[in-house]
Symmetry: C2
Subunit: 334 residues, 2 copies
């Protein structure tokens, strides 16, 4: 059986889940792990989760992890930070070891607009090392960029691309409910928006991804955040939300081309949202609308698409990629 060996870098909640998912899949194996946390270094993966084994020990850096790995890793899964400034040196260290990278870093999903110099640095390093780098995830990475772009394949002309991701957060994890501002007063909500701690990261990247893929030059992008306000008091096990407080977040990403909004991405996640769905509406020749009823479960999908992007990055040309420049991802098992 074909087996792809993985080095997992970043053993936070997402990294642990990634290792759990990999252990339950055919064709992939975690052979090395890295985390900076001194309390984790030297421990086997099993210390983080009963589902994981004792053969892989967490190391403080890539060099040590490669030295102690039972087999050479063919690819790195990087689940550490969301921004280009901090992820760039981490990727450079991995690439210097000749290992391709799939990362959940949101800003990496389309870095050329806002971090052109860092993107250029990574592209050069990847080409020198002969490996690929890509940022992915369910959003950014798929639902609001790669999937809508792919759906335009059947169009002779495209006027606008609109995507809606609406999610009922009632039964989601409590950290997610807090992340979307549920239960905050409107002042608290505004404060968190102002300090940058309350927002879905990646909407601008998704707008830029689509524009780039379709050959559209953006005049400007907008990213507008507002609260979803509870019209009545809401009581759920994890919290009580008073009428008039925030039940969640609404976020609009706009891409302007020649003075018109040609790309419109709408993200809404709130407690008590009536319907969950992911919808793409391409206005063009022909019109194409595609709807995923119930929406895509982000908790599962983020890990899944990261693992499902391993084979495509191994098949890609060397360089810094997006989900739009590598062979298309899919579930795969050996």
């Amino acid at each position: 059986m074909l087996m792809i060996n993985i080095i997992q870098i970043g053993m936070g909640p997402l990294g642990i889940k990634m290792a759990q998912y990999i252990s339950s899949r055919n064709g992939f194996e975690t052979v090395a792990a890295v985390d900076l946390n001194p309390q984790l270094v030297g421990k086997p993966l099993q210390a983080l989760s009963d589902e994981l084994g004792t053969s892989v020990q967490i190391e403080a850096n890539i060099e040590n992890a490669l030295a102690s790995a039972t087999s050479r890793p063919q690819v790195a899964l990087l689940t550490t930070v969301s921004d280009m400034v901090r992820i760039t040196p981490q990727i450079e260290a991995i690439v210097a070891a000749g290992i391709p990278v799939v990362s959940t870093c949101e800003e990496l999903s389309f870095p050329w607009q806002e971090d052109a110099a860092l993107a250029e640095r990574l592209d050069k390093a990847a080409k020198q090392a002969g490996v690929g780098i890509v940022g992915t995830g369910v959003n950014p990475g798929f639902l609001m960029d790669a999937l809508p772009s792919f759906l335009t394949s059947v169009c002779q002309n495209v006027e606008t691309v609109k995507v809606q991701r609406f999610q009922d957060a009632t039964s989601r994890r409590v950290p997610f409910q807090k992340k979307i501002g549920a239960g905050l007063t409107l002042d608290q909500f505004a404060d968190k928006v102002a300090d940058g701690s309350l927002r879905h990261v990646g909407l601008s990247q998704s707008v830029q991804f689509i524009a780039d893929k379709l050959g559209w030059k953006l005049d400007k992008t907008e990213d507008i955040i507002s609260p979803v306000i509870a019209e009545e008091a809401i009581e759920i096990p994890s919290m009580n939300i008073a009428k008039g407080q925030a039940a969640g977040v609404h976020q609009l990403g706009k891409g302007w081309v020649n003075g018109k909004v040609k790309i419109l991405l709408e993200f809404q996640a709130a407690i008590g949202e009536a319907v969950s769905y992911d919808e793409v509406v391409v206005s063009g020749t022909p019109n194409v609308s595609s709807r995923i009823e119930g929406g895509v479960n982000g908790d599962i999908a983020t890990c899944a698409i990261t693992i499902n992007t391993i084979r495509p990055i191994l098949q890609a040309q060397p360089g810094l990629h997006t989900m739009g420049t590598i062979p298309s991802s899919s579930f795969w098992e050996a």
Copy 2:
């Protein structure tokens, strides 16, 4: 403005439409054209359609077309035949001239199962010439293979992939209505199925595409054709269909893995079909269902996706590809 130069090979109805579509798009230009028909050779494209110009003359072969082209073509659009046996030498001649190929040949969309030796020959020729080759189209090429495979990207596990393409043919072109057997007696329908002239070509290829992409080994594939029987008499401008005659075709593609049907593709096109839609249902973790209400207009989409696959094949590694191994296609304009 970036401009991609195209040689159009095959000036039948599909080739003419392709040239018309290209002439109305930014970023692409037809600079050479080939057809074997002696009545077309030596004529300008304008002789085929008022929308086309006089600068490109139809030539009998690639050598002459390249010699007379105003600019060197960067890619060939090949719209001639549906089968691997006849398309292979045509592609070899194009590739020998150092030109990558996008073709609407149905069997080329996934040739490895049924035409392994020819696929191998093309792959070798493409690698020697340093160019890519791909077969595409709306179906096979997108709706029943590339799109459902891509949708599994968000899945940690996949049990089954089911796709339905249901089309009301009432307002489609008459040749399409005849192609699906509308108006035939059931005996006539059975005869046409038996002689191979009545079938949607490519269902097996789509089954094989998905299986390959997901890493599934197929025990066997099935391709089952039956008539959609008119329950009442139907009168439309192009024909009268008596009760009990065929109103269209129903076709099932099945992919068996370890004794179970894991891939089920259902194609139905008939006069008077109640609803047109394209639906993908992935059963797995999570389940993902995506529905295109109204369906995708095949007449427009076939030309569009062929043109929209030009950039990806130019970016791909040399070799024989599928829509699953090149960078993802999308509408694009310069």
